[in-house]
Amino acid sequence: MKFASSENVDVKKNIIIFVIISIILFFIDRSDNKFFKVTRSVINDGIIYTTVILKSPFNFIINTTTSVGNFFTDEKIIAKNKIEDLENEVQKLKNEKTTLLLQIENLKKITGEENYKFKTIQTKVLFYKSNILSETIIINKGSRDGIKSGDPLVKNNLLVGKITEVNFNSSYGVLITNINSRVPVRIGDKNYNAVAVGNPSSNNKINLEFLPKEYSLNEGDYVYTTSIDNIMPDGILVGKIIKDKNENFYVEPLYDFNQIDYLTVVKLGS
């Protein structure tokens, strides 16, 4: 019987050593050291793409299981679900058309142009992780493709989030519904300026901060990004105004966050 084997003593020493190394790493990483940033980018890219490969068999198993499950599902139920899906899709497209027409009208008023003056780049979402530690989107394009921290992530002209950190071949992003996200916006025809901040209690609501002292919002007013301090391009649709029972106004995002597969990055630096 061993009460204090040499290995156990070693492990206790190692725990202390690794905790100290972890704390040192944390503070170096936090200090934004240039050399460490490059090293971190290389490590990040390596780990991210290795995990994508490791994850692929599990994705395959899940997709196969879903396909097999669908095969045995009653045909009538499948047909009914398909009809419901199509009805939803039609409704979604109608909404999208309306919002896009409104957006184009608004863009014309502001810039006299119909398209963004910024270059865009299509990206694939490698990971979307949401847990109590963090909520992160990882995309497959990085600084080598000209992506910079702060660039907006859009899909179908709807704002989805923004880039928070860039590696060489991948980037981290955060959704607009995240409590750490801050986006300057303007609201409705009167163009009230405010800051859209993720709502702590709901994934489908965005709070509005720094509204002017006197404002009158209407339910259904559209909310767009604004280019104050050039941190965001003007005119990307964020959502529309909703009012709760307590007469508080929120923004309801128009993008369906369950469909994060491919996103577009608007390159602010271009």
Binding site: L25, F26, I47, L54, N131, I132, S134
Partner: protein
């Protein structure tokens, strides 16, 4: 190959749990990882049920922590600190026990979890990040509730032969 897997089962399972957690498995509209911190339970159970299991003398635990930091966009070392808090408590608990008393193990897991989350809160404040206290509390309670089930599942199945 089988011997290798058996020896390193703890590190392999922990690594796989991180990889799999990036696949969306939802419950009540939120990913499962929002409710339960599976990794911390695994570390504690592996160590408590086999005191000679040390995750490669702590090196693999450190490495897996870095991988988790990368995939979650956290500063390097954040997850490592949390992992080593739980690992240290489990190591202490497993060294003082004469026989397995489940309740005392469970309580010490609760203490390590609360301490780890408090440290995480502190690190996030340094990072100027906002955390939802309610969400973290739910996660803490559900992680504690899930512990006995995973304890039953893991200790009775496959970790007795693991030594690294």
């Amino acid at each position: 190959m089988l011997v290798f897997i058996k020896r390193y089962i703890a590190s392999i399972v922990l690594l796989l749990s991180i990889v799999i957690s990036s696949i969306e498995i939802e419950m009540l509209g939120k990913p499962l990882s929002n409710y339960i911190n599976l990794q911390l339970i695994l570390i504690y159970i592996f160590k408590i049920s086999n005191p000679s299991l040390n995750f490669g003398r702590g090196f693999f635990l450190f490495l897996i922590g870095i991988i988790n930091d990368v995939l979650n966009g956290l500063f390097f070392g954040t997850t490592g600190i949390l992992y080593f808090i739980v690992f240290a408590v489990a190591a202490f608990q497993s060294s003082i026990k004469l026989r397995s008393i489940f309740i005392s193990e469970w309580m010490s897991f609760a203490a390590s979890l609360i301490f780890a989350y408090l440290v995480f809160f502190g690190l996030e404040i340094l990072h100027n990040h906002h955390l939802l206290f309610s969400q973290v509390s739910i996660n803490l309670v559900l992680t504690l509730v899930a512990y006995p089930f995973l304890w039953l599942l893991l200790t009775k199945i496959f970790i007795k032969d693991a030594i690294r």
